[in-house]
C-alpha cells in the first residue's frame, strides 16, 4: 500500500463527520439508553448526542453523548444500530461484539482506520496505544525534549499494510507508542476484526506524554 493510499485511508476515518441530533431525536436515544439497568445517567436538558459512520460496519454507528452541565464536560461513546446501544468501555469486548453482530468488512483501505478506532477506544495495562503514521504529526510530540523528538523520528518504522489471501487476514507493520516507549510490531487483523501481535520489539523508552494522545483529537471534529 503506498503512502498516498495510506493518507486516503486516514481520511476515511479521521474526517470530522460527527452529525449532531436534533433535540427530539436526541431524546429518543436517551430514552432508549435509560431503559438499560446499568445505564449511565444523562440529563435531557444538557446532553448533546452526535453520531458518525464507521467505514467497516454496515448498520452500527458510533454515538457520542456529551453532558455540558459538568466541568469538564462528561462524554461516553456507544456503538449502536439505533436499537441496541453497546457501551464503549475501554476494553476490546464491545468492539468484538459488534464485529460479530454487524459482520465487520475489512479491506486495505479501511483496516488502518479500524486500528485507529480500536486503539483510540481500547487501553492496555500500560495505558493508551497509538499507531504512528507520521512521527512529525504525533500528538504532543512538542512536549518532548528536542533530543527525544529526534529519537522518535529516527526510530520510526513506516507503516505497511499487506493482505494474506491464504489466511484471510491483514498484516499491518509499523511503529506504536505504548507504555512510555516506541515499539515496532506486526499487527495481524483477522477477517473478524480480532487482533494479535507478532514480532514486537522495543525501539525507544522513556517517552511520556502529559495527557492521553486521544484526549483532544477524539472529541474534536
Amino acid at each position: 500500500m503506498t503512502n498516498g493510499n495510506l493518507a486516503a485511508a486516514d481520511r476515511v476515518y479521521m474526517q470530522p463527520t460527527w452529525t449532531r441530533l436534533v433535540r427530539e431525536q436526541a431524546h429518543k436515544v436517551l430514552d432508549k439508553l435509560s431503559g438499560h439497568k446499568d445505564a449511565v445517567v444523562f440529563s435531557k436538558e444538557a446532553t448533546e448526542v452526535a453520531w458518525r459512520n464507521l467505514p467497516f460496519y454496515s448498520h452500527y454507528k458510533l454515538y457520542r453523548l456529551v453532558n455540558y452541565a459538568t466541568m469538564p464536560t462528561f462524554s461516553m461513546m456507544y456503538l449502536s444500530n439505533d436499537e441496541e446501544f453497546i457501551t464503549v468501555d475501554g476494553t476490546a469486548g464491545p468492539i468484538y461484539t459488534v464485529n460479530e453482530k454487524d459482520p465487520i468488512r475489512l479491506n486495505e483501505m479501511n483496516v488502518v482506520p479500524y486500528l485507529d478506532f480500536f486503539f483510540s477506544n481500547v487501553q492496555g495495562s500500560e495505558g493508551d496505544v497509538f499507531l504512528i503514521k507520521d512521527p512529525r504529526k504525533m500528538p504532543m510530540l512538542d512536549s518532548l525534549s528536542e533530543g527525544q523528538q529526534q529519537s522518535v523520528i529516527s526510530s520510526f518504522k513506516p507503516l505497511s499494510v499487506s493482505m494474506d489471501t491464504v489466511q484471510h487476514n491483514f498484516k499491518v507493520s509499523g511503529t506504536l507508542y505504548y507504555g512510555g516507549g516506541l515499539l515496532s510490531s506486526t499487527i495481524i487483523v483477522a477477517h473478524d476484526g480480532k487482533l494479535s501481535f507478532q514480532d514486537q520489539s522495543l525501539l525507544l523508552t522513556g517517552i511520556h506524554f502529559p495527557y492521553s494522545p486521544y484526549e483532544q483529537m477524539w472529541l474534536e471534529g
Binding site: V40, V41, A69, G90, V129, L202
Partner: protein, 171 residues
Amino acid sequence: MSDDTPNLHDILKPGQPLPSDDLMIATAIDILNHSPHGQQLTDFVSVNQISIRVMSTPQPTTYLPESKLVYVGFNRNNPVSPSRFVLMLAGILREAQQESAGIKHPNLHAPMQEHMKVSMAKHEDKVWYMCTVACELNDQDIFTEYKFLDELRKMGHDESLALYLKQERES
C-alpha cells in the same frame, strides 16, 4: 522481547480481575473515614443518601449527573490504584457537597465570565479538599503504602499540592 518491554497483548485481555463494585466503594468509604475531612464526606453520603456507582470508561473519570448520584469510572484493562479511587471519590463527593450547598454550575446560557468564575472556584475548592484528605491519610502509618501524595501528583495536581503544603507550613 525483554521483560521490561511493554507487551501489546495486554490490550486484548478481557479486563483485569477486580473486587466487586460494592466492595471497592465500601473500602473507599472506610478509608475516607480515617480522615477528618473524608469523614465529613462519608457523613454527607449517609445523611443525604448519596448513591455511588462504578462505571467502565476508557479513561479514569468522575461524574455527577444529579445532586445525589456520583460515578467513579476507570478502564477495566488498566484499573486505577486504590488510592486514586479514594481520591477520585473524595473529589466527586466534594462536588456533590457543593451542589447540595447551592454552589452549582451556571446555566448553559450564562455568560462565559460567569462560567469561568464559578467553575474555577468550584475546581479550586475540590482540589484543595482532595489535597487535605490526601495529607490527612498520608500522615497515618496504616496508609503508608497507599502513597496518597504521589497519587495526587500523578493525577496532575502536583502544583496544587505544592501550594497546599506551602500554605500548611506557613499557617
